[in-house]
C-alpha cells in the first residue's frame, strides 16, 4: 500500500512541474461579477473575482494590463448605459478598446443583461439590445468570444423576474443560467 501512496505523490509532484498561469480565469466587471460565487459555480477552475459593484468602463480602463496572459470573462456596462447621454455605438467602441487593453490571453464577453430596475427609462432594454449588437460585431472583429446571455434572461421584452429579486442583480437561479451557458465555452 505504501508503494502506491508514494507512487501517487511522485506522479502529482512531477505533474506540478508544468505550472500554468494561463489556466487562471479572471472575471472582471460590475456587481453582477462581484456577487458571483465563482468557486461554487466553477469548482474545478482556477478563478479570480475582480468584480466591483457600481463600476463601469472607467474601472476596465484602470485595470489595463492587469489580466496579462490569463483568460478574462468580462461583464460590464449596465451602470453606464442607464445614463441618458450614452450612445450605444460609441460606448461599444470604447468598451471594446478597454477590454483589449486588459491584455488577456483570451477574452469572453458576456452580453449586458436586461434589467427592470426602479427609475429605469422605458426603453432601457432596447438600448441594451442595441449596445449588445454593437459589442457582438466589434468582438468578432477583435477575436473575442461573445456570449449572448441577454435573450436567456428576457421575458416580454424585459428582465424575467424569475432571475432577479430587484430587477437588476441576478439571484441564484439567474447565476445558474449564466454559469451553465458560460461553462459551454470555458470547459
Amino acid at each position: 500500500m505504501r508503494q502506491y501512496i508514494i507512487g501517487i505523490l511522485c506522479i502529482f509532484a512531477l505533474s506540478g512541474c508544468c505550472k500554468d498561469e494561463s489556466r487562471w480565469v479572471t472575471f472582471i466587471g460590475d456587481s453582477e461579477i462581484a456577487r458571483w460565487d465563482l468557486q461554487y459555480y466553477f469548482p474545478t477552475l482556477l478563478t479570480e473575482n475582480m468584480g466591483l459593484s457600481g463600476s463601469g468602463i472607467k474601472y476596465l480602463e484602470n485595470c489595463a494590463g492587469s489580466i496579462n496572459g490569463r483568460i478574462a470573462v468580462v461583464l460590464c456596462g449596465t451602470n453606464d448605459i442607464s445614463a441618458e447621454h450614452i450612445e450605444p455605438a460609441e460606448y461599444a467602441s470604447l468598451f471594446l478598446e478597454a477590454v483589449k487593453n486588459l491584455a488577456a490571453r483570451h477574452t469572453y464577453i458576456i452580453s449586458v443583461l436586461p434589467r427592470e430596475f426602479k427609475g429605469d427609462s422605458v426603453n432601457i432594454n432596447e438600448k441594451i439590445a442595441l449596445l449588445n449588437e454593437n459589442i457582438k460585431i466589434g468582438a468578432d472583429v477583435q477575436g473575442f468570444t461573445y456570449i449572448d446571455i441577454y435573450p436567456l434572461l428576457l421575458k416580454d421584452g424585459t428582465l424575467n423576474r424569475q432571475y432577479s429579486y430587484d430587477g437588476l442583480h441576478l439571484n441564484d437561479l439567474g447565476y445558474e443560467v449564466m454559469s451553465h451557458e458560460l461553462k459551454k465555452y470555458l470547459e
Partner: protein, 199 residues
C-alpha cells in the same frame, strides 16, 4: 496507464475491506457535494473514497482517496489523513495531509485544530488550517464554530462556519452556515454533511 493505476488502488482498497472482521464501514456526504464511503480497520486505520457530485459533466468530477490513522487518549485525539485526488479528465490533481488534534477541555467543551499542507498541480502549494470548537448542549446535539482556510471547493478562502453537530445512534449530521470573512455576502453557503456507520 493512469486508469490502470486507479483500478489497482480500488482493488487494494477492496482487498483491505474484505479481510478483516474488526472493521467498520461508513457512508456519507461532505459539504453537499462530495459523496464518500469509508472503512475503518481496528478502530485506527482509515480508508475513504470520496467522489464529487458537481453539476458538471463526468470528466469534471473529482475522485479523492484518503488513507489515515487515528488514535485517542483520555481527553486528546489525533487523526492524520493523506489524500490524493484527480479530475477524471486529468485536468489537475492535488494531494496533501489533513492532520487534526482535538482536546476535551472539560466535559461539554472540545477544541479542534487542523493543519492542511495542500498541493495542487496548477495552483501550486498552500498551507491551510482550521480552528474549531464544539459545545455539547444536550446528548446528541452540539454547537460548533470554526474559522477555516481549507478549500471548500478548490481555492483557499477565509471563512467562518457555524452550525450544529447532530448525532443519533450511528448517524451524524452537520448543517453549517459558511460565511466569507471578506464581506461578500453573496457567497454565504449552507453546507450539510452526514455520515452513517455500519458497525
Amino acid at each position: 496507464m493512469k486508469l490502470l493505476l486507479k483500478h489497482r488502488i480500488i482493488i487494494v482498497l477492496l482487498l483491505c475491506v474484505g479481510y478483516s472482521a474488526s472493521a467498520q464501514i461508513h457512508i456519507g456526504l461532505r459539504d453537499n457535494r462530495y459523496a464518500r464511503i469509508g472503512y475503518t480497520l481496528k478502530d485506527s486505520y482509515l480508508f475513504t473514497l470520496e467522489h464529487s457530485i458537481y453539476s458538471e459533466k463526468f470528466g469534471f468530477q473529482k475522485a479523492r482517496l484518503y488513507v489515515g490513522y487515528k488514535h485517542n487518549w483520555k481527553n486528546l485525539g489525533i487523526q492524520a489523513n493523506l489524500y490524493a485526488s484527480t479530475l477524471w479528465n486529468g485536468n489537475y490533481q492535488d494531494c496533501g495531509v489533513l492532520a487534526t488534534a482535538h482536546y476535551r477541555i472539560f466535559n461539554p467543551w472540545i477544541v479542534y485544530a487542523t493543519i492542511n499542507p495542500h498541493y495542487d498541480s496548477e495552483y501550486d502549494y498552500m498551507t491551510c488550517f482550521t480552528v474549531a470548537t464544539d459545545v455539547e448542549v444536550i446528548k446528541g446535539l452540539a454547537l460548533t464554530a470554526q474559522y477555516t482556510t481549507i478549500p471548500e471547493y478548490r481555492l483557499s478562502e477565509k471563512r467562518v462556519r457555524a452550525g450544529l453537530h447532530l448525532s443519533y445512534g450511528n448517524l451524524s449530521v452537520t448543517p453549517l452556515l459558511s460565511i466569507p470573512t471578506d464581506g461578500n455576502t453573496k457567497s454565504i453557503r449552507v453546507l450539510c454533511s452526514f455520515s452513517f456507520s455500519f458497525k
